[in-house]
């Protein structure tokens, strides 16, 4: 695997780990204000990591082979479920309004990641060369 592919996978791991930490924070804090501040901080961190992951994939987009694209898609997919779980957990804690802007910022980055995953799937994951269709 190339260096850029390794970097992409490492970035997925650190982003997933950060989302796991957010889930733990929501489940583990007893103090209302602390919980809000911790979640805000954690969501901001998740936003930065997700944006950085998108930037890395975009920078390497031309170098994705079908195999590499399929591997990336398989590895990153749990992140979307985790993002949904985080939103659900925040709502269950009744603090969504307090962290809304941080959540929205994170959700925008997750949407951006979903878009680039969709582009990898659409333009890079097929072994058939369909380039002529586009020109």
């Amino acid at each position: 695997m190339s260096c850029s592919a390794t970097l992409d996978i490492e970035k997925i791991k650190s982003t997933l780990s950060s989302l796991e930490d957010t889930e733990k924070i929501i489940a583990g804090s007893d103090e209302h204000l602390d919980l809000i501040l911790d979640i805000q901080k954690s969501l901001s961190e998740n936003s930065k990591l997700t944006a950085s992951l998108v930037d890395t994939v975009e920078a390497n987009f031309r170098n994705y082979t079908p195999t590499k694209a399929q591997e990336f898609i398989a590895r990153v997919f749990p992140l979307f479920d985790m993002a949904k779980n985080i939103k659900r957990a925040i709502q269950e804690e009744g603090i969504f309004n307090e962290v809304r802007s941080h959540w929205e910022e994170f959700a925008e980055e997750v949407d951006d990641l979903f878009e680039i995953v969709n582009d990898l799937s659409r333009y890079k994951s097929s072994a058939d060369d369909d380039s002529e269709m586009f020109f």
Binding site: F61, R62, E108, E115
Partner: protein, 141 residues
């Protein structure tokens, strides 16, 4: 000298966006993607979706300076770059958020814009723009 073209549906969309405050600076933002770049710079933009001979079909993310929220909530631009002829043809331009926000270009839409691009290119109907004058229209192709 690089020539920038659009297909007619892009021009219609731009006109629509300009009538909305949330996208009022869309032409300025579009120009910022290309301003000061050489054809090699544009050809080597990172998200090249497809490549054939010396042409690339590229998608770029640009900021919407009206919302100041970064590229993830900005615009998406799809364009062809012909390295030999130094031509850039924009075939799709849309915002990600707001009234005219779009998640992604669907495969059906993409087929339509590619067909439109081919028809207008082959019939000399592409229209050129100045990126130093806020994307204003120039002469017909």
């Amino acid at each position: 000298m690089i020539v920038f073209y659009t297909i007619s549906s892009v021009r219609k969309d731009i006109e629509k966006f300009q009538g909305n405050k949330a996208y009022g600076k869309c032409c300025q933002d579009l120009c910022s993607l290309f301003a000061g770049k050489t054809i090699d710079d544009i050809f080597n933009q990172p998200r090249a979706l497809k490549e054939h001979n010396r042409m690339r079909y590229i998608k770029s993310r640009i900021n919407n300076s009206n919302n100041g929220r970064g590229a993830s909530s900005g615009y998406r631009v799809y364009y062809y770059v012909d390295l030999e002829k130094e031509l850039v043809t924009i075939v799709k331009f849309y915002p990600k958020v707001g009234k005219y926000g779009q998640i992604n270009m669907t495969p059906t839409e993409e087929k339509e814009v590619i067909a439109e691009y081919r028809a207008e290119r082959d019939n000399n109907l592409l229209v050129s723009h100045s990126i130093t004058r806020n994307f204003s229209l120039q002469e017909a192709f």
